[in-house]
């Protein structure tokens, strides 16, 4: 790398900032949890995980954390994905694939609209806690 000018430094900072922000868990307001038990992985959860990570990257969303969890017990609709976004009900999607994952990012996370045909369940704990908003 050669010596930089102010503009080059700022450009470098912007690129690196999106990278490092993924590591910062304190500024995350949205959680995507992917069921990655044996059943989920067999049904393609790994592709779904990659799809989420890449789509979030392409959309420059840095406030979303993507984590994995074990089997949610809904093995017949795997891969399953739970999404908690601010101002939205907590939702579990079933039969998610690459295309659905990208739709969830664009519609649910960015535009606040459920991808209704894939909504599988609304966990009851959520209904009790938040009055089922």
């Amino acid at each position: 790398m050669a010596k930089m000018t102010l503009q080059e430094l700022r450009k470098l900072r912007d690129t690196k900032k999106t990278e490092i922000q993924k590591r910062d868990i304190n500024d995350k307001d949205t959680q995507v949890v992917i069921g990655m038990g044996t059943c989920g992985i067999a049904a393609g959860a790994k592709t779904v995980l990659d799809a989420f990570l890449n789509e979030l990257d392409e959309q420059h969303l840095s406030t979303v954390s993507v984590t994995q969890t074990g089997c949610m017990g809904l093995c017949y609709v795997e891969p399953t994905v739970e999404v908690n976004a601010p101002g939205m009900p907590s939702v579990i999607y079933g039969k998610v694939d690459d295309a659905v994952a990208r739709r969830i990012v664009q519609e649910h996370i960015m535009n606040g609209k459920l991808v209704s045909e894939y909504v599988f369940d609304k966990p009851s704990a959520d209904i009790i806690k938040d009055g089922g908003k």
């Binding site: 790398m1 010596k3 430094l9 690196k16 990278e19 910062d24 868990i25 990570l53």
Partner: protein, 595 residues
């Protein structure tokens, strides 16, 4: 590249000495075995601060905090957490076995902390300038070079009210302003990284974990006062910090953030490292400058202060590592923001190195004005092994003891001085009831006497005389006159010594005499050491009614001073006993008595 997991391995000196490097290597091997190099990033960071629990491995985004990890754990940790996606509960930090998953924000050690100086430690890879840049690194330098005049910078520093973190607490903006206004072509910027207080390691950790913050702020100071050469004076015992500084300087030069024509502005500023041989007195600024010049490290009387007449007689700004690390944040967020943290007397935060008889030893950064109780009990988790708190020594060999009655004092520069101690560099050594205050005072005085450069008589002779008196007292030969004499010598040293080393060397004695005079009197009048530490004053005896004759103590005794038949009461031969205490620690029946 989108990673799904980040593994942060602590690469501070403390964790590296407990094989953090091997853990890092083993995790990388696992990562390659599972073909996950493109999905998992493994980063070696600076110190997390929670050294008691090291080596520490943190995995994101789950925020799982794994403690006391060994290289042998790496395989299982990787396979469970990364491959199978479930936490390895047996390694999670878990204070009282109550919670399965301790998120970092739930850990009491971190709850009251506020990190400015250590903002990047334990988060970024200190050997990669890009990571520093991504965390608003060098934005302050941009501001200073392009949007602010040197006067603006001084005003901002004045508003912030930052005081030197090296010990004396002199307002940083004033130093800078003196040098800025001083006449003379060549001016210098110096970073004092000669951290020498026993138990203090915040400067080392800052340099190891975030070296660019110091380089950036030295460059800012250079531009502000009109200097184009800087020196970092660091002790050779800090090899890791030196290595990371060298890497950081190389990367900053390649990027044009250091060296000639910085960011194409025509401003030149470069930094050189000068290694110190580890003399404590070289932390004193005039001795430090002499050492950089290649002379013997001995202080000279001030004034003139280095800000006006410093390195090679030229105006020199000299600040300590922790002070430097604050400056980019002040420029970035503004002096007003900074001045709202901490107390009116001492704005900002302070990093303390919490050690001694404390449950969670480590590096702690708290706003000024936090009480000792909060630091010792809430963050530090209280006294180790459920013993009773006796006192805390702040300011290392220059400071004094603070007792239980003053635990609720909000700490800043002023309040500690009022209690007869001082801030110093922020070492905080906690003592429990098993520590003898006379013995502790002797420990610190021994340090100061050994480190005295010998130039001025009050420090050289006064220190030695105090030492003789203390030795006399701990051997049981002390008299009441000795106490008066110690006070007299101490106050003479305070007034007449040339530099802070001699001026503060009597502090541990004077303050412990003030708070624990009865303990000195016990040594003198009753010839006993209440804590059982001073070997000449104690005897170990076996209580006949408790001894069952198990022979355990006799087997442990290094001088074979214990004799007795199996299942019969044992006896200690006092002439052969060296008072090591091994029998006391070994006996399961409480049959050994110390008096």
């Amino acid at each position: 590249m989108a990673y799904r997991s980040y593994i942060l391995v602590c690469g501070g000196t403390a964790c590296e000495s407990s094989k953090a490097n091997a853990i890092f290597e083993a995790l990388n091997i696992e990562c390659r075995t599972h073909n996950l190099e493109n999905e998992v990033q493994i980063i070696k960071t600076g110190c997390f601060g929670f050294c008691e629990q090291g080596p520490i491995v943190k995995i994101l985004p789950e925020d799982s905090f794994y403690v006391q990890v060994t290289p042998e754990d790496a395989k299982e940790l990787f396979e469970e957490h990364i491959v199978k996606g479930r936490e390895l509960t047996r390694l999670l930090y878990n204070k009282d076995n109550s919670k399965k998953h301790a998120k970092v924000e739930d850990i009491e050690f971190y709850q009251k902390q506020f990190r400015i100086v250590l903002r990047n430690c334990g988060f970024i890879d200190p050997e990669n300038v890009d990571e520093y840049i991504a965390r608003e690194g060098y934005v302050a330098l941009e501001k200073v070079l392009f949007d602010m005049t040197p006067d603006d910078v001084i005003t901002e520093m004045k508003t912030a009210g930052l005081r030197g973190r090296g010990g004396a607490g002199f307002p940083t903006w004033m130093k800078w302003n003196f040098t800025r206004q001083a006449k003379g072509g060549q001016k210098f910027i110096v970073c004092n990284a000669d951290e020498g207080d026993p138990g203090a390691y915040m400067d080392r950790s800052t340099l190891e974990g975030d070296p660019h913050s110091v380089l950036e702020s030295m460059t800012i100071a250079g531009h502000t006062v009109g200097a184009n050469q800087g020196y970092i004076y660091i002790r050779a015992e800090y090899p890791l910090a030196i290595k990371r500084l060298e890497i950081a300087m190389k990367q900053a030069r390649e990027y044009g953030l250091l060296g000639k024509n910085i960011l194409d502005t025509g401003f030149d500023f470069d930094i050189e490292i000068r290694l110190g041989a580890g003399a404590f007195v070289c932390g004193e600024e005039t001795a430090l400058l002499a050492s950089i010049e290649g002379k013997r490290g001995m202080p000279v009387p001030r004034p003139p202060f280095p800000a006006v007449k410093g390195l090679w007689g030229m105006p020199t700004v000299i600040n300590n590592v922790e002070t430097w690390a604050n400056i980019p944040v002040i420029i970035l967020k503004g002096g007003d923001w900074f001045s709202r943290i901490g107390t009116q007397d001492s704005p900002g935060t302070k990093v303390f190195a919490l050690t001694g008889k404390i449950r969670n030893s480590g590096l702690v950064e708290v706003p000024m004005g936090t009480t000792l109780r909060e630091i010792i009990y809430d963050i530090g988790g209280g006294i180790a092994n459920d013993r009773e708190f006796k006192a805390v020594q702040t300011g290392g060999p220059s400071g004094g003891v603070i007792t239980k009655e003053y635990l609720d004092t909000p700490i800043d520069f002023g309040s500690l001085t009022k209690l007869g101690s001082m801030m110093g560099s922020g070492g905080m050594i906690v003592m429990d009831e098993d520590d003898c205050i006379v013995d502790v005072a002797k420990f610190y005085l021994t340090f100061s006497v050994e480190e005295s450069c010998g130039k001025c008589a009050p420090c050289r002779i006064g220190g030695r005389s105090l030492m003789n008196l203390l030795e006399k007292i701990t051997k049981g030969n002390g008299t009441l006159e000795d106490i008066d004499q110690m006070k007299e010598i101490g106050s003479a040293m305070k007034r007449a010594s040339l530099c802070a080393l001699g001026q503060t060397a009597p502090n541990p004695i004077l303050s412990s005499l003030h708070y624990f005079e009865d303990e000195y009197l016990a040594h003198i009048n009753d010839k006993t050491c209440p804590a059982g530490k001073c070997k000449s004053l104690i005897t170990y005896t076996i209580l006949a009614d408790k001894c069952i004759g198990c022979t355990a103590c006799a087997k442990k005794c290094p001088t074979n001073a214990i004799s007795g038949e199996r299942r019969a009461v044992h006896v200690i031969d006092q002439a052969a006993c060296i008072k090591c205490g091994a029998c006391y620690d070994t006996c399961k029946f409480g049959a050994i008595e110390v008096r």
